[in-house]
């Protein structure tokens, strides 16, 4: 009888210990989930457009992770690994080098880069510190309905929208004047320079002091024009009877042209040489997408035909092409600036539909991606980050100079995200 009593007591103790362990386990997991959800903007009040201003900026104020000037503990906590920087649609993004040391000190930032982006509805330029998640709005010049934006490394922006009168594509080059150290209001007017209408594709030079854009040619087709950032000295350096090209100006000064892609149709990619000569970069491939690595002849390129999606790599001009074990497109990848032959790619977690590229371009299909890291010199492919039940169709990915953060937009809703590469 006594033995039975002791056994029952032991059993009760064990059950209590187990319940206590379960309670603390759930509490710790719940805290992690709450932090993650808060970083993604969950739990916020639904914003309203009913204010007198009617600007989405007020909604940004309520939805961004943390804002400059806020007090409390939020500004000092480390953002979650995957941070939703903006729930409102963005037009474009880019990492910028921060200015003077005083500027860094004022923001409490320890590194020299920040993520700058343009809000789609207002054209406002905002900036977020990757380390703290602190967001600062920089400009107060309203440019409604900005469809595309580019950000140079020195902080200039290009904003592209449609002319309300004739529907032409308008391209504005914007500079942000240096803020007065004494003025209380940090908001500045965007200094604007209007470039020719109808530009189809545009890229900053590595130092931000020049532009290269693809515009309609005088007799049709396309013309590539190199121009100073102030709009002076336009120089036609390329022409083609093919209208659709995407231009990329690498940090080593090389200019890359990739023909607009369509599933199952051969696409071509070239390096633009002196005198407008075109040197092929990769063998023509159906639905070709391509990403060249700066300061190297390495490149990755994707092909899409029917239901087939492949990604291949070539490490240098003499090496053969090898297919990577990832089913994605090169547009969803970034090269690591700090590790040679390492590339980060967002990869659809489920099979993509047939003619995926065309469907995606038209907004008919989106993917749910996970980030993968491929080390081509080591021949390894590892999962970097899976966002769980968050549907992220990665577009316009950019990586900072230190190779610590990847920023990107979600093509499904144009929201802006920031991923810390290291856990």
């Amino acid at each position: 009888m006594t033995i039975l009593r002791y056994a029952l007591i032991a059993l009760v103790v064990l059950i209590l210990v187990g319940l206590a362990w379960w309670y603390f386990f759930l509490s710790s997991k719940g805290e992690t989930l709450r932090e993650s959800d808060a970083g993604r903007g969950a739990g916020l009040e639904a914003p309203s457009f009913g204010s007198a201003i009617g600007s989405t900026y007020e909604n940004i104020l309520s939805s961004l992770a943390t804002l400059a000037g806020q007090t409390g503990t939020e500004g000092t906590t480390t953002p979650p690994r995957l941070l939703q920087v903006s729930k409102t649609p963005a037009a474009g993004l880019g990492f910028v080098e921060l200015g003077s040391p005083s500027r860094k000190a004022s923001d409490g930032q320890s590194t020299s880069t920040a993520l700058r982006f343009v809000e789609r509805s207002t054209g406002y330029v905002l900036e977020v510190s990757p380390q703290s998640g602190v967001v600062t709005r920089l400009t107060n010049t309203l440019i409604p309905r900005v469809y595309e934006a580019e950000v140079s490394r020195d902080g200039r922006v290009i904003e592209r929208f449609l002319d309300g009168a004739n529907g032409a594509v308008v391209t504005i080059l914007g500079s942000i004047p240096v803020a007065s150290t004494t003025a209380g209001d940090m908001l500045r007017a965007l200094t604007q320079q209007r470039l020719p209408d109808g530009i189809r594709s545009i890229a900053f030079s590595p130092d931000g002091k020049e532009l290269l854009y693809i515009a309609p040619g005088e007799t049709g087709g396309a013309a590539g024009v190199r121009v100073n950032a102030d709009g002076a000295k336009p120089q036609k350096i390329f022409s083609s009877s093919i209208p659709g090209w995407r231009v990329d100006w690498l940090r080593d000064g090389r200019i890359i042209l990739v023909q607009n892609a369509s599933d199952g149709v051969p696409g071509y990619a070239y390096e633009l040489g002196k005198g407008g000569s075109l040197s092929p970069l990769a063998p023509p491939a159906p639905g070709l997408t391509l990403l060249a690595r700066p300061l190297s002849s390495a490149l990755i390129f994707g092909a899409s035909s029917g239901s087939s999606l492949t990604l291949s790599a070539r490490l240098d001009k003499k090496s053969s092409v090898s297919e990577l074990p990832l089913r994605t497109i090169a547009d969803k990848c970034v090269w690591s600036p700090s590790e040679q032959f390492v590339v980060f790619c967002a990869v659809p977690q489920r099979p993509t539909p047939a003619n995926f590229l065309d469907l995606r371009h038209r907004g008919e299909a989106h993917t749910a991606d996970a980030w993968w890291r491929v080390d081509m010199s080591a021949g390894s492919t590892k999962l970097l980050y899976a966002p769980g039940d968050i549907m992220l169709d990665v577009e316009n990915p950019a990586i900072d100079d230190a190779g610590a953060y990847i920023a990107f937009m979600n093509a499904a809703d144009k929201s802006l995200w920031l991923l810390r590469i290291k856990e």
């Binding site: 457009f49 929208f161 199952g264 051969p266 023509p284 371009h361 038209r362």
Partner: protein
């Protein structure tokens, strides 16, 4: 997508020059008889850094009974009794190789021939002038009635590394096997042709050569006609046309009023509101008069209604009778007295 992959892909680069012995500088002397010997290569235009197949033929001598010796740039690369064929590595772009075959009967050279192989490349690019919306990152595909823009990018590389400029090259454009005289000629590296007809597929090819015959090559691609695709998007008052979110068969929009923009991808048009495009809108079975300035757009207000709208759109073309598209989308708006007729909450939350 009706576009099929270019059948010639992989061979669409093309390449080489193979001069028969009849050309003056390719003629070789051989002793004994004047027996004929011809060399044929396969593929006709081998790529740089690939392998080509060379075959010797003769109508006047029995090559099987002879020793055939093969040389590349003067170096023997193979041969033997009755060896009429050989695989030869093609050099890089800018290289030149002379492949030579000598048929011998003992010590007597019966016949000989050579080919000069200069690998070249030609890229053949195409895109249509069909309509795609602003900021579209894909390619404008050809549909019936549109123009097809083609461009040949030749790489005829001399041994000194320089390239022959396109204006020094004679281009011959073909549709199927028929030469298109109007598009062909010296320096005509680009061509604008009619796109294939409805459901049609055309093989477009281009041959290029220098006037002196030192360089030549060809490329081809198969171009299929694409049916225009009609899609509908929200035209948001703050964000503009939401080209990244095409409406699906059934949609819920938590607003009482919303504008929609139709986009006729790949249609023969200069814009969505091109006067040649004929839009016929119907909502819940009722014909809707077009906005005269923007017939591609429609605004629906669901105040004092259930909010359910079945939008139907028929699109035709005033001059292109091949074009006919139809779309149907179910939209559920926040009906009744809710909302102020303003913008949708972009966060996807409930209407305020």
């Amino acid at each position: 997508m009706g576009m099929t992959r270019a059948a010639s892909f992989g061979v669409s680069l093309a390449f080489l020059i193979a001069l028969p012995v009849s050309t003056a500088h390719a003629q070789i002397d051989f002793g004994g008889f004047g027996a004929d010997l011809t060399l044929s290569i396969s593929p006709l235009y081998p790529s740089p850094d690939t392998v080509m197949h060379v075959e010797a033929r003769s109508a006047s001598v029995d090559l099987d009974a002879l020793d055939i010796l093969w040389y590349k740039n003067g170096e023997k690369i193979g041969g033997g009794a009755g060896v009429k064929e050989i695989d030869v590595a093609v050099g890089a772009l800018g290289s030149e190789a002379v492949i030579e075959a000598r048929a011998r009967d003992g010590d007597l050279e019966v016949a000989g021939s050579l080919v000069r192989v200069v690998p070249t490349e030609i890229d053949l690019l195409f895109e249509s002038d069909s309509y795609v919306p602003p900021f579209y990152k894909g390619r404008a595909m050809p549909s019936a009635g549109t123009l097809l823009h083609l461009e040949a990018i030749p790489r005829f590389k001399r041994t000194d590394g320089s390239l022959v400029a396109p204006d020094g090259i004679i281009f011959t454009w073909k549709r199927g096997g028929s030469v298109i005289q109007s598009a062909s000629g010296r320096g005509k590296a680009s061509a604008s042709l009619e796109s294939p007809g409805l459901f049609g597929t055309d093989l477009i090819s281009v041959e290029a050569r220098t006037p002196d015959g030192k360089f030549s090559g060809s490329a081809s691609t198969r171009v299929a006609s694409t049916e225009p695709r009609l899609l509908l998007y929200k035209d948001h008052p703050l964000f503009g046309v939401m080209y990244h979110q095409a409406l699906v068969a059934q949609n819920f929009i938590p607003e009482t009023e919303m504008s929609f923009a139709a986009v006729p991808y790949f249609a023969e048009a200069r814009g969505a509101n091109d006067g040649r495009l004929v839009y016929a809108w119907r909502v819940n079975g009722n014909d809707i008069a077009n906005d005269s300035e923007r017939p591609s757009q429609i605004t629906i207000n669901a105040e004092r209604s259930s909010g359910n709208a079945l939008i139907e759109l028929a699109l035709s073309h005033a001059t292109n009778f091949f074009m006919s598209s139809f779309g149907r989308w179910g939209v559920t708006l926040a009906g009744g007295d809710r909302g102020s007729g303003g913008a949708e909450d972009p966060f996807g939350g409930p209407a305020q």
